[in-house]
Every structure is written in structure tokens, then in C-alpha cells.
């Protein structure tokens, strides 16, 4: 079923997508984050990605844990069901929601504290299960909401606002995900919508868990010099690998292709991801190469962004499990309850 909202007033000039909705229909309530917070840029990119993909908001389930980042699902897709779980446990709740209704378009938003400290186990095992979801990790190197302690993604030597210096080696979610068998691994920067929006769209089209690590500076606690998660550092040290275009199923494939070698990857829903190779060095289908490349550039002080790895043969949680096509939550009771006769039969064996 498709419900198309028909707003009373049509803003002149407000563009409509294939399901007749405007960008405004993909917004949520007003952000209460700090002015300039990277997370708000991610929200804007998410809004645009859903709009451009013409996904009806009510088909979406947006989930998060606790943190500034975790607050953002209220700021987009006001007409989608949302859920703020407890801290660090978004992956398991999303697993359950997706288990119950495989038709849900699941997007999970998390922070680096939420995903790499308290939630490291859930992120890792969510990746292993290959839950069909887009996992956006809004990575700022600190616990924003509790006022700026180091998170597990803070770099060694990075300074907190109070002057404390981090002494623990960081966890890079991209390397971790590659290590744990993730089927879609990318990184972007909150400030770069041109890169982020297509990545989000590709992630939504991916069947399985698409992890996008988004460097999203915390202007209040971690946007000073010496922080590798600052606007400045990211702008200076960023290196793009394999930029992509995303062509939704229903769009005509544009004929004009930009220079450089381009690879087309067909997603499960039929849409196309076009991966442009900058220097021919990176092959998004080679997990080991992706790991090596990210690690190498990191050692050189660069922040590599782009799509690192995409498993075109990804089999998601439900398909691995062999779940039926109808969402479990919608199966009629008759198809679930074996009934009294079966019970009688069964009990013959219990004597």
C-alpha cells in the first residue's frame, strides 16, 4: 500500500519526487543540537537522500541509541516511526525490527561512543548478521552529550577541551567493519553533501548492513586544532577514494559518464552504483586491498573517504536465514499456529 501525503498548500517551485513529496515532507522537528554541529549536516543529507530515492517516509524505521547523534532521527522523516533505544544498543533493536518486518527500510544512527565504546559488541555482531539496514555512524571523537570525554575513536595524542590528552589507540570503524566481514563500508564527511548523499543512497539500496562512518565534527567539544575530527583537519587531510554516483532503479541511466574508469554495480533492488576510480588503485570488491589502502593512508595522516568495499553478492540476514518473504509481523495467525490436531499427533511421540 502506498499513502501519498497531499499537502494543502503547495509551495510554488517546491520540487516533487516520484511519490509526489517535497523535500519538506522528509524533514522532522527542529534540531536542538548546537549551531554548527556536524550531525545537523548529516541530517540534511539523509533528508535529501530519502527524498531523491522517493521512499515514502512511513515505510522507514529510524532508530538510534543515546547521544547527540542519537537525537537526530527526530530531525528527519517526521512521518516515519522512530525509536531511541538505550545507549549503545541500536543494532540489536534494529535487528529485531527488521526481523519482524523485512519490508521496513531501516536506518540506524549512532555515535562513536554509542557504537565503539558501550556498543562495540552490538555493532560488530550486527555487522556479522548483515542486517538489512543503513548504519550511519556520526563520528566526532568525543561523547558530545556528556560533555566531551574522549570516545574510542579519538586519536592518540588528541586533546580534549579541558586539555587532557588521549592515550588509547583509536578504533577505526571502517577497518573494524572490513575486518568483521561487513558487506558495504564507506566513509564520508558531514560537510560534503556531494559525496555523502550518493553514499547514503547506495547504502539504502544495499541489501545487508551498509556502514557509513561520517566524520561529523563536534563544534562544542572537539573542533579545535589537534583534533583529527575537526572541520579543519578533515578538510585538509581528506582524500577521496572511489567516488560514486548512485542511480536509483527508476531513473534512466544517464548516458553522460564522467572521465576516468567507471564501474557499474547493480544493487539488489536493481538500482545502479557507479564507482569512479580516481587513480585506478582501489577496487571496491577487494576487501583485503581496501583494508590495506585505508590503513596505509591513515599511517600517512590522511583521512580516506568514499566507498571502500561493496560485496555485490551480499546475502542479508533474512536470506541467510531463509525467512519467508511476507513480513513476519503480517503473517496470518493461521499460518503460525499448528492447531489442535497437530498437537494431538505430536503428543503421540511423547509417550
Amino acid at each position: 500500500m502506498t499513502y501519498i501525503k497531499k499537502p494543502a498548500v503547495r509551495h510554488p517551485g517546491s520540487q516533487r519526487n516520484e511519490v509526489g513529496l517535497t523535500r519538506h515532507d522528509y524533514e522532522g522537528s527542529m534540531s536542538t543540537l548546537c549551531a554548527g554541529c556536524g550531525h545537523d549536516s548529516v541530517t540534511a543529507a539523509i533528508t535529501r537522500a530519502f527524498f531523491e530515492l522517493s521512499i515514502e517516509p512511513y515505510r522507514v524505521a529510524k532508530l538510534s541509541g543515546i547521544g547527540c547523534s542519537a537525537k537526530t532521527p527526530t530531525y528527519f522523516l517526521g512521518e516515519a516511526h522512530g525509536l531511541n533505544a538505550v545507549h549503545g544498543r541500536m543494532p540489536s533493536v534494529t535487528t529485531g525490527a527488521s526481523a519482524a518486518n523485512r519490508d521496513l527500510v531501516c536506518i540506524g544512527i549512532s555515535g562513536d561512543g554509542d557504537s565503539l565504546s558501550i556498543g562495540l559488541g552490538q555493532l560488530s555482531h550486527g555487522l556479522r548478521r548483515n542486517v538489512n539496514m543503513l548504519y550511519v555512524l556520526e563520528n566526532n571523537g568525543v561523547y558530545g552529550l556528556t560533555k566531551g570525554q574522549f570516545s574510542a575513536s579519538a586519536d592518540v595524542g588528541s586533546k580534549a577541551k579541558g586539555g587532557k590528552v588521549n592515550i588509547q589507540p583509536p578504533i577505526d570503524p571502517v577497518l573494524l567493519a572490513l575486518n568483521l566481514g561487513a558487506t558495504f563500508v564507506a566513509r564520508s564527511f558531514s560537510g560534503d553533501k556531494e559525496q555523502l548523499v550518493p553514499l547514503l543512497k547506495a547504502g539504502l539500496a544495499h541489501k545487508g548492513l551498509a556502514l557509513i562512518d561520517v566524520i561529523s565534527p563536534c563544534v562544542t567539544f572537539n573542533d579545535h586544532e589537534g583534533s583529527t575530527k575537526s572541520y579543519l583537519y578533515t578538510r585538509q587531510q581528506r582524500q577521496d577514494v572511489a567516488p560514486i554516483d548512485f542511480v536509483p532503479l527508476r531513473s534512466e541511466i544517464e548516458t553522460q559518464i564522467e572521465g576516468g574508469s567507471v564501474r557499474h554495480v547493480r544493487m539488489h533492488d536493481g538500482s545502479i552504483v557507479r564507482i569512479r576510480k580516481i587513480d585506478g588503485a582501489h577496487d571496491t570488491s577487494d576487501r583485503a586491498a581496501a583494508y590495506g589502502y585505508v590503513q596505509e593512508r591513515q599511517a600517512a595522516g590522511e583521512v580516506l573517504t568514499g566507498l571502500f568495499f561493496l560485496d555485490e553478492t551480499s546475502v542479508d540476514m533474512h536470506d541467510r536465514h531463509g525467512t519467508t518473504d511476507v513480513p513476519l509481523s503480517q503473517l496470518p495467525f493461521g499460518s503460525l499456529c499448528p492447531g489442535s490436531e497437530a498437537l494431538t499427533e505430536l503428543q503421540k511421540e511423547l509417550r
Binding site: L83, S92, A97, Q122, L328, L346, R351
Partner: protein, 616 residues
């Protein structure tokens, strides 16, 4: 000493002491099943170690023609197959009783027990002679003691042989060696002892309408019949077999024969927190979802439980209790998690808890749990225990009413949403404390934001006291009102018209032992009423019972009298009128524990281990 004149036919108990991982479990199961098939009321209690191989393990069997099959600590016969525990096993035999032991190698002593008879059988030696390979020799020794036992207490060997044929229908060679081992023991006993002993079996027809089932299997069946589609778990004794059974039943009943696709989803989660998260997500998205666990799991899930309570998400938790605290004794039983489960998580919380007494109730209360969870939009706990969950019970055949339809509670679907102005998640429009919910993915008008942070009745984030209170006050009313919808307490009253002076109150798996004690005490002339509680929050009938009795004995299996605590707390009945009889050593309750306290002729009562604590 037992009086010799008493007829011990179909009224005795014996115990088999063996070593874990040597195949004795299936031999013991064979005995249990054979006696069951002879139509005699029987129970089997498996006291196994938290170990895979090599540690002592026991199997206790009680037969009772009147149907009292709660555990008894008094054994007429010991099959003492484990040298490591020989001394303590011998000590447990009743005066006048018997010991079967392996005389292949001399154990030497009678351990000072001149009041019991020792029946030595060279089981090991015979098996060495008759069988080859250590594996077969070890396994067949078990069957040989089954044979000896058959001769000694008159187990119908035809029944045993039939079972062997059924079990090994595809391995005729195995049937043959089993036959042979059975005969070995049987013949030796017949030839050397006066068979049968006074403790002996005689066929009855008391179990014709019964099955053998454990509570975990029955609970799993309840989940299947209630229409649960999502299960998540992390393995933990003694709950593991609940999910194992669910998997098996789903593979049997829930796989599309054509496509091979599955009408269920099961996740072995990475831990209990994740298992809780999965079922909460599934409940939120509209599936009936559950997790089986035990005490440590509930502790770990505590944060999530509070979330589901406050965000009002239906979920079902099975807590198959084991002996606590901490890791405790994972293979021993207890009722130590009553308080935890009732009030789990920080802040003001209170949960619906159901207390099955046996496998049949594990089945029916599972179904009730899903209905209550959906109706009251809250986590519901089914509090079973190791004894109920993992031991084989003779149970009346389970019944199913095909007219049953799940109570999914107030869920607004697309059609309803189409017709309303606005949907607000936590507005209680009809005053019953329950607000309607919607499922994700169904309709644009149904969207709302679910959160464990402060929210008002519209579901909007709030830090405002009165708005916050409006919601938590309604939730408190809602949970309290479940008391009228949940399974009512069961009573056995001396007299319908007037209350007896004393009441016995219990919960869960204590039922059998308390009923047996009740019969014994009433036979002494005592006037007693009985109430078994089946749900928390307590129904008004619970307070009424407590109030109408001068004194109530609250019988439960934990150290701190947790049920008594909850009763005092929730009903307001003065604690001094509630006397706790506590048994918490880890074994299933026996009637002795109660009669030792309450019998008017305690001299007649057998001395027992100091397992009972009376507190008032």
C-alpha cells in the same frame, strides 16, 4: 525403619548414581519411560553437574500410585554406580532399603549400614566379557543395570524391549546388544536375589492420558501456538533447551513445504543484552517475540527491561531459574528471582510475572504471556525453574482450542488510522490505562517516536514534571489492572463456606510437594486451605485469601522469602501473619520439608538435611 506391613507396590523411590557423560542419562530415561508406559505415576529428577564429562550425576525416580510424585529425599533403593560418591550415596538409603552395586571390583565396605541390603552384581565384569570396545562396554553397563532393576522391581521388560526397538529402529545391531545387556542384568538379579523386592511395580492405567514432557519443551510449544515469530537468545543453562525445542517445532510446523521458507526468525545473539534488544525491536515492529534466559541474563537485560516498560513495548521473557546468586549452581533449581523479575530495572518499575507450576502450565501460561504482553504493551515474564524446565514430567495431555485468537491489544491498523484525525501514542482515550499503538511501516498517520527518555502523552520529549507524571502514573495503573486479566490463583479449600484457620500459599513448581503435604496434614486432622499464586501483580483474590486466614505459611524456594516479601508489600497484610517455609539447597521441593514444620507428630517425620528454614 519402614513397617514391613505397608504395601510398597507402586510406592517407593530409588536413585541412580553415575558419572556424567557415560551414557547413563538415556538408560535412566528408559526406566522412566517404561514405568510411565506401565501406567504408573512417576517422576524423574536429574541432578546433573555443571560439567560435560566425568563428574557425579544422579537420577531420582519416584513412583506413587496415588499420583504424588514430588521429589522425596528418602530412597528405598540406590543403584550406586559411581565409586566417587559411593559413601554419600549409601548414606542416603532408607533403613531397610537396598543398594545395587557393581561387584566386579570390591568396594569393601558397607559404610556401617547394617540396616540395608547390598546386592552386588558384577556388571563391569559381565560387560567386559560380553562386549568389545570400551565405548560399548561403558554404554551397555548402563543397560545392564536397567535389566537388574527390571528384575528387582518388576519393570515390564517387554515394554523396555519395545522402546529399544523404537529407538534403534534403523540400527538392528544396537537393538541386539541392548537386548543382551538387558538380559545380563535381568538374569543375574533373578538368579541371585529374591525378585521382586517388596518395592515393586504393578501395571496401572493412571498415565493413559498423559505424556512425558519437560517444561522448556512445553513452553516452546506455547510460543509456537501463540504465534510467536521472533525468538532471540544467548545460551544459558537451564533455559537453553527451550530455544532448542522452539527451533525443532518451527522446523516441523513453520517451514513452507513448497518454498522451504521459514515463518519464523531465530537469532542466537551475542549476549543477553542483544537478545533483549532484538525482541524489543521485534515487539515494536509487530511480531510476537520472546527470549529464554536465566537469572544472570535477567540481570544483564535489566536496562532494556526498563526501556520496554517505559516505552510500552510488548515482549515475553522466560526466566528458567537456577540457584543464585551470581553464577551460583547452574544445574540446581531455585526460585530466587521473584523480586528481581517483579521490579527489574532502575526507577519505578513493576512487571507482569506468571508462575507456571508444571509443563502443562508452561504451555498455557506461555500463551497467556503473549496475550498479556500485547494487551498491556509491556514485558511479561514467565518464571519457570530448572526442575520444571529440564526434568521430565508426566503431564496430562496438552489441550488446544482452535477457536483461540491472539489478543493483540490496541493496535491501530491502516484502516483505523485513515479515519482518525490525529494519532497520539500515549493518550489513554478510554480510561483503561492502555493507549493504542501503531506499527512501523503501516501508515503515515501512525508515526510516532518511541523513547525511553521523558515523554508526554503525545509521545513528545519532555522534561516537565506534570507531563512526565501523567504518563508514568497511567503506566502504574495499567500494570496494576493486569491483575484482573492474568491467570487467577488456584485454591484448594477445606470448606467452601468458611476459611480454615491456616493457609498454605505457594508458587510455581512447589505445587506438587505442597499438595502432597496438604493431603498428609489434612489426614492428620488439620484444617488447611491452599492457594497457589499464578501471576503478579496479585489479583484481589490473593489479598482476600491472606486476610481471611489468621496465619499463612508461604512456601518457596529461596533464602530470603521473596514471595512472602512481595505479598506483605503489595497486599498490606502484616508480615507477621506470613510465615515463610524456605528451601533453597537447589533440589526440587519435597513434601517432607513442609510436614517437618507443620505436622502435629513431627517425631514421625524423617530427619532430613537442614534444607528448611522457617522465618516469620
Amino acid at each position: 525403619m519402614r513397617e514391613p506391613t505397608v504395601d510398597r507396590t507402586n510406592d517407593f523411590a530409588f536413585k541412580i548414581a553415575t558419572v556424567n557423560g557415560t551414557g547413563s542419562a538415556s538408560a535412566n530415561g528408559l526406566i522412566m519411560q517404561a514405568i510411565f508406559r506401565m501406567g504408573i505415576p512417576i517422576s524423574g529428577k536429574n541432578l546433573f553437574p555443571s560439567n560435560i564429562q566425568g563428574m557425579p550425576t544422579w537420577y531420582e525416580i519416584r513412583v506413587n500410585r496415588e499420583g504424588y510424585t514430588a521429589r522425596t529425599p528418602r530412597f528405598d533403593l540406590m543403584i550406586a554406580m559411581n565409586p566417587a560418591t559411593y559413601a554419600r550415596d549409601i548414606a542416603e538409603v532408607c533403613s531397610g532399603g537396598w543398594v545395587v552395586h557393581d561387584s566386579s571390583w570390591p568396594l569393601g565396605e558397607d559404610m556401617g549400614r547394617e540396616d540395608i541390603s547390598f546386592l552386588g552384581i558384577p556388571l563391569g565384569q559381565m560387560c567386559v566379557e560380553q562386549f568389545t570396545g570400551s565405548r560399548e562396554r561403558i554404554l551397555m553397563k548402563n543397560i545392564a543395570y536397567v535389566g537388574a532393576l527390571a528384575a528387582l522391581i518388576d519393570v515390564d521388560t517387554d515394554v523396555v524391549r519395545t522402546m529399544m526397538e523404537e529407538k534403534f529402529s534403523r540400527k538392528p545391531a544396537l537393538v541386539k546388544s541392548n537386548y543382551r545387556a538387558l538380559e545380563l542384568g535381568y538374569d543375574y538379579a533373578k538368579d541371585n536375589f529374591e525378585c521382586p523386592l517388596p518395592i515393586r511395580l504393578e501395571p496401572m492405567s493412571a498415565t493413559d492420558d498423559s505424556i512425558i514432557i519437560d517444561g522448556n519443551m512445553a513452553a516452546a510449544l506455547g510460543c509456537v501456538y501463540a504465534g510467536a515469530t521472533v525468538g532471540a537468545w544467548y545460551p544459558i543453562t537451564p533455559s537453553t533447551s527451550l530455544m532448542d525445542s522452539f527451533v525443532q517445532f518451527c522446523e516441523r510446523f513453520r517451514v513452507d513445504p513448497e518454498t522451504g521458507k521459514k515463518n519464523f526468525f531465530i537469532a542466537q545473539a551475542e549476549d543477553e543484552l542483544s537478545a533483549a534488544g532484538i525482541i524489543i525491536g521485534a515487539g515494536w515492529a509487530g511480531a510476537r517475540a520472546f527470549t529464554p534466559t536465566s537469572g544472570p541474563g535477567i540481570s544483564l537485560m535489566s536496562e532494556f527491561i526498563g526501556f520496554a516498560y517505559y516505552a510500552e513495548i510488548p515482549t515475553v521473557f522466560f526466566n528458567v531459574q537456577r540457584t543464585g546468586p551470581s553464577t551460583g549452581m547452574p544445574t540446581r533449581t531455585q526460585q530466587g528471582d521473584l523480586l528481581l523479575t517483579a521490579y527489574a530495572s532502575h526507577g519505578d518499575t513493576k512487571h507482569i510475572v506468571l508462575f507456571p507450576a508444571d509443563p502443562a502450565e508452561c504451555f498455557s501460561l506461555s500463551v497467556a504471556a503473549f496475550d498479556l504482553a500485547d494487551r498491556f504493551q509491556t514485558p511479561v515474564f514467565v518464571l519457570s525453574d530448572l526442575d520444571i524446565g529440564m526434568n521430565d514430567w508426566v503431564s496430562p495431555r496438552l489441550e488446544w482450542d482452535d477457536a483461540y485468537r491472539p489478543d493483540r491489544g490496541k493496535v491501530l491498523g491502516p484502516a483505523e488510522l485513515e479515519n482518525i484525525e490525529n494519532f497520539y501514542r500515549y493518550v489513554d482515550s478510554d480510561g483503561d490505562g492502555i493507549a493504542a499503538r501503531t506499527l512501523p511501516g503501516t501508515h503515515p498517520k501512525g508515526s510516532y517516536f518511541t523513547r525511553g527518555s521523558g515523554h508526554d502523552q503525545f509521545g513528545v520529549y519532555t522534561e516537565d514534571g506534570p507531563q512526565y507524571q501523567e504518563v508514568v502514573d497511567r503506566i502504574a495503573r495499567k500494570i496494576q489492572s493486569s491483575a484482573m486479566a492474568a491467570p487467577a490463583p488456584l485454591f484448594d479449600l477445606q470448606n467452601e463456606s468458611a476459611a480454615a484457620p491456616v493457609g498454605l500459599v505457594t508458587v510455581g513448581g512447589c505445587d506438587g510437594a505442597v499438595r502432597e503435604a496438604l493431603a498428609l496434614l489434612r489426614a492428620e486432622g488439620q484444617e488447611l486451605d491452599y492457594m497457589r499464586i499464578r501471576a503478579f501483580p496479585f489479583a484481589p483474590a490473593v489479598s482476600e485469601f491472606l486476610e481471611s486466614h489468621e496465619k499463612c505459611y508461604v512456601i518457596e524456594q529461596n533464602r530470603d522469602g521473596q514471595l512472602r516479601t512481595m505479598l506483605a508489600l503489595e497486599t498490606g497484610v502484616p508480615a507477621e501473619r506470613l510465615v515463610a517455609i524456605l528451601d533453597y539447597g537447589g533440589t526440587p521441593l519435597s513434601a517432607d520439608t513442609i510436614t517437618r514444620v507443620l505436622s502435629r507428630s513431627p517425631g514421625d517425620q524423617p530427619a532430613g538435611p537442614p534444607l528448611v528454614e522457617v522465618r516469620s
